[in-house]
């Protein structure tokens, strides 16, 4: 099919039709979205729905039920808790991976939300207004980039974890919240730069000039004309932030400032499993393979979902055949 066969769209001035009917039909039509959504839901729901089991301390699937199983045994079908093997403390790996999924996904999504809101806002304003506002915002972004991230996180934890745990009356909840913010606080920076760059480009296109000439309000230009053209990069970027946040957490855990053991995350499970699994002498491969597979599958599904969604929102996507 060549471009000539395509119906010629009016120029990219107008946003895509977003009547609920049209959107949903298109979502349902997209195989990519359906498939990745199904995979994500499967993982998310199984993580969430098994929480009553995995959080229990007396169930074999319990995330911290130590020595419920023999230590370091490979996957077997003799007991449901052993489907994916057990770890160094004789805990069921399937239980820990499921609970770790809930924790990891929460961290990833929180980071994505923070960077979506902050990053897009800053990038839009900087790119569109230009001049000294752009300079100021971008220098602030530069400065935040430059500051030593680990030091920020360490300080952040020391400063906020104690007061927060008094406020929410739970140490693990406070640990979680601080972790969300610590990861979110830097993830929006690149988003801001990407959005700004895109806006700089869009601003130079004739259709924005046309909008201005037509006397459209700034808010309207922002929401109706700029944003729809930005959705692609934003969604792609947001879905890229989720994996990087999840991996960032594993790095922080590795340094001892991430999630509080015995609570698992996929990242920390992978970190724990690394040396037992890659040991050239005796390999406990299952300790690494399961968390990594879950991570990889989830993140791939997220990325494909992001692609599908950005295609949907992109006003020109339909025409993008060559």
């Amino acid at each position: 099919m060549t471009a000539l066969d395509q119906p010629i769209l009016a120029d990219a001035v107008e946003a895509p039709p977003d009547t609920p009917d049209g959107l949903f039909t298109r979502i349902r039509r997209s195989r990519r979205i359906r498939f990745s959504f199904a995979v994500l839901m499967l993982i998310l729901l199984s993580s969430l729905l098994t929480m009553p089991l995995t959080l229990r301390s007396d169930h074999p699937w319990g995330y911290n039920n130590q020595y419920a199983l023999p230590v370091r045994v490979g996957p077997s079908f003799s007991a449901s808790a052993l489907w994916c093997g057990s770890d160094t403390l004789g805990r069921s790996l399937i239980g820990r991976c499921l609970l770790g999924g809930a924790a990891s996904l929460a961290i990833g999504l929180a980071a994505a939300v923070i960077s979506m809101t902050l990053g897009v806002a800053v990038g839009l304003v900087a790119g569109y207004r230009g001049g000294w506002i752009d300079a100021l915002l971008m220098r602030i972004v530069d400065i935040l980039y430059g500051l030593p991230y680990l030091l920020l996180v360490i300080l952040f934890k020391i400063a906020f974890e104690k007061p927060l745990s008094l406020l929410v009356r739970s140490e693990s909840a406070a640990n979680f919240i601080v972790l969300f913010i610590a990861i979110g606080i830097v993830s929006w920076l690149t988003m801001a730069r990407v959005v700004r760059g895109q806006v700089l480009f869009l601003r130079s296109l004739p259709f924005i000039e046309a909008c201005k000439a037509a006397g459209l309000g700034q808010w309207r230009i922002f929401t109706r004309h700029l944003l729809p053209n930005l959705v692609g990069p934003i969604v792609v970027y947001a879905t890229l932030i989720v994996p990087s946040a999840i991996l960032q957490e594993s790095f922080l855990s590795f340094l001892g400032i991430g999630i509080q053991p015995p609570l698992p995350t996929w990242g920390s499970l992978a970190a724990d499993g690394l040396s037992p699994a890659l040991n050239p002498i005796v390999s406990h491969w299952w300790m690494l393979v399961l968390p990594c597979t879950l991570l990889a599958v989830t993140l791939l599904a997220l990325n494909f979902l992001g692609d599908g969604l950005s295609d949907l929102f992109d006003p020109k996507a339909e025409a993008a055949k060559i």
Partner: protein, 552 residues
């Protein structure tokens, strides 16, 4: 078209230039003996060093008045050929051997020792306290630090002639010769350091530490440092002017720095190095399970324990249940330590009920402490007012999460307390320095701890719990203990001292300011063609006698 192609082309050119810039290529021939250290040397300034990697190199390139015998670790003559001691054992006179030479050919004299020791007192480091056994050294150090006028002549050091050094001690020190083999008592070559001296505004001389970087460094040991590539490797070559050169077995030694456990093991497995000196638990536990002939596991000079805060109140004015020794006992005997050593650590450690590692000090006999006993633990807890753990305040266990083995055993201990005693302990991970700050400020409930001895005497362990010790992390105060340790410090009869220290240790084992979990082990990986590596608890390698038997 060309324009776009030029980007990758430019990148490739840049790459080529960068490869040249980063200086790859020229490799030195392989050393006679090579080994992997997990960390780079921190400093080679003998006054400042405290890490094992630093000491290991120091033993090779310096020599003190006395040196360690490679096998028995008994002090044998080094720079000094002999010594005399007065009947009270407080005045040591060392006779230096005239043939001892610095690596640049200068003779090693008593002045070099005085210069080095004086410098340590003037810019103190972690092991300066070992010099406090010498008369007036502590006073000198303190007053110098406070910038008060002070005369070095008051310190108990005399040089009657360049080859004689007389040291005066206020109290007899039975292990003084051992100390003479310790890096803090090595000499320094003043002339080679002069270019690095700065005279401050107050007229005091400070030496820029760059004097330790080759080729500036002049040493008097069996080897000299010829290359030090930061975070890559160190190269030692024999010092041809060393007086005992005939007994030095290898011509060159390479120390490569590899941090990652798996990379380290791979290098060894594929024959790139002869010796893995510090085997991390990530790989060590599996190697232990294999019964490999090249895996050498042996008792160490350290004890792993849980430090309990013994202050009457904890931070935030919470009452401290652990101030009651019955609670500490209950917590200690409710831990099945065998689970920890045999399923988690798995490095050949034995569960410990006492504090000092057994068998490392000849003639010293530790008595066993309290054994695992659940009924007794529950009774003690009930006696202290918390039957079944009811209303036991929620304590927090702080620990570092960057070591997998620690992370696992801490989780297990807390779980055991929960099942065995019904008490709830929260976990909190902290990063290393934050943890140290909290412990120093006694702003913690409990934390993992370990203690490695510094010199060959039980007091290196017992001094930690003196009530005025900086390292008494538990803030534990016990008059009887202080009395015993103090009495031992001024006792000149070795056997009597040991009895006093044994009693002191027993107080510790009973009162449990720390809960001993196990005595740590050392592990080396080397094949049987490597000769001369000694498996001594203090993890000390005398490189003089180390060599590899290569096939002709």
């Amino acid at each position: 078209m060309l324009k776009l192609l030029s980007i990758p082309l430019a990148l490739l050119l840049l790459l080529a230039a960068a490869v040249v810039w980063s200086g790859g290529g020229a490799e030195e021939p392989r050393a006679d003996f090579s080994f992997i250290s997990r960390t780079d040397v921190n400093t080679l300034d003998i006054g400042q060093m405290s890490y094992l990697a630093d000491m290991r190199v120091a033993y090779a390139i310096w020599e003190g008045l006395y040196a360690m015998h490679p096998e028995t670790l008994v002090p044998v003559p080094g720079v000094a050929s002999s010594h005399e001691v007065n009947p009270e054992k407080t005045v040591y006179t060392f006779h230096l051997r005239p043939e001892a030479r610095w690596s640049n050919g200068d003779p090693v004299t008593a002045h070099d020792f005085v210069f080095a020791w004086r410098r340590i007192l003037q810019s103190p480091g972690e092991y300066t306290y070992l010099h406090y056994y010498i008369s007036n050294a502590e006073t000198y150090c303190m007053r110098y630090a406070r910038k008060e006028p002070v005369d070095f002549k008051t310190v108990g050091l005399e040089v009657p002639d360049p080859y004689t050094l007389r040291v005066t001690l206020p109290n007899p020190v039975t292990f003084f010769l051992d100390l003479m083999a310790f890096p803090a008592f090595y000499p320094l070559h003043e002339k080679s350091m002069r270019p690095f001296a700065h005279v401050g505004q107050d007229g005091r001389v400070v030496y820029d530490q760059q004097f330790t970087r080759p080729p500036n460094l002049v040493t008097n040991g069996a080897f000299k440092l010829t290359r030090w590539e930061f975070k890559r490797r160190l190269r030692l070559e024999t010092n041809p002017r060393y007086w005992d050169i005939a007994n030095v077995k290898s011509r060159s030694i390479d120390m490569a720095i590899v941090e990652d456990p798996l990379t380290m093991l791979r290098r060894y497995e594929f024959g790139k190095v002869d010796w893995l000196a510090d085997i991390p638990s990530e790989i060590g536990s599996e190697l232990m399970g294999m019964n490999r002939p090249d895996m050498h596991n042996f008792p160490g000079f350290a004890t792993l324990f849980i430090t309990l805060n013994c202050k009457p109140t904890l931070s935030g004015d919470r009452p401290n249940p652990m101030a009651d020794f019955r609670i500490r006992q209950a917590m200690a005997i409710a831990i099945d330590k065998k689970t920890i050593t045999h399923t988690i650590l798995r490095m050949g450690e034995q569960p410990a009920t006492n504090y000092i590692p057994p068998g490392v000090f000849a003639g010293y006999q530790s008595k066993p402490g309290l054994a695992y006993n659940l009924p007794l633990a529950r009774r003690l807890l009930a006696d202290a007012g918390y039957p079944g753990g009811k209303e036991f305040p929620r304590l927090t266990f702080i620990f570092r999460a960057d070591r997998p083995a620690v992370r696992d055993w801490v989780q297990n201990v807390v779980k055991q307390w929960h099942t065995n005693l019904g008490i709830e302990v929260a976990l909190q991970t902290l990063e290393g320095k934050t943890l140290r700050t909290r412990v120093n400020a006694r702003d913690f409930d409990m934390a993992p701890g370990d203690w490695t001895g510094d010199y060959n005497d039980p007091s290196t362990f017992t001094d930690k719990f003196r009530s005025n010790s900086e390292n008494n992390d538990s803030a534990w105060i016990n008059e009887q203990y202080d009395r015993l340790v103090h009495a031992a410090a001024s006792e000149s009869d070795s056997a009597k001292r040991f009895r006093l220290l044994e009693q002191a240790e027993q107080t510790l084992n009973d009162q449990l300011p720390v809960i001993p979990l196990c005595h740590l082990t050392n592990s080396y990986l080397f094949r049987d063609n490597v000769k001369g590596i000694n498996l001594n608890p203090r993890n000390m390698t005398i490189f003089k006698g180390v060599y590899v038997q290569r096939k002709p």
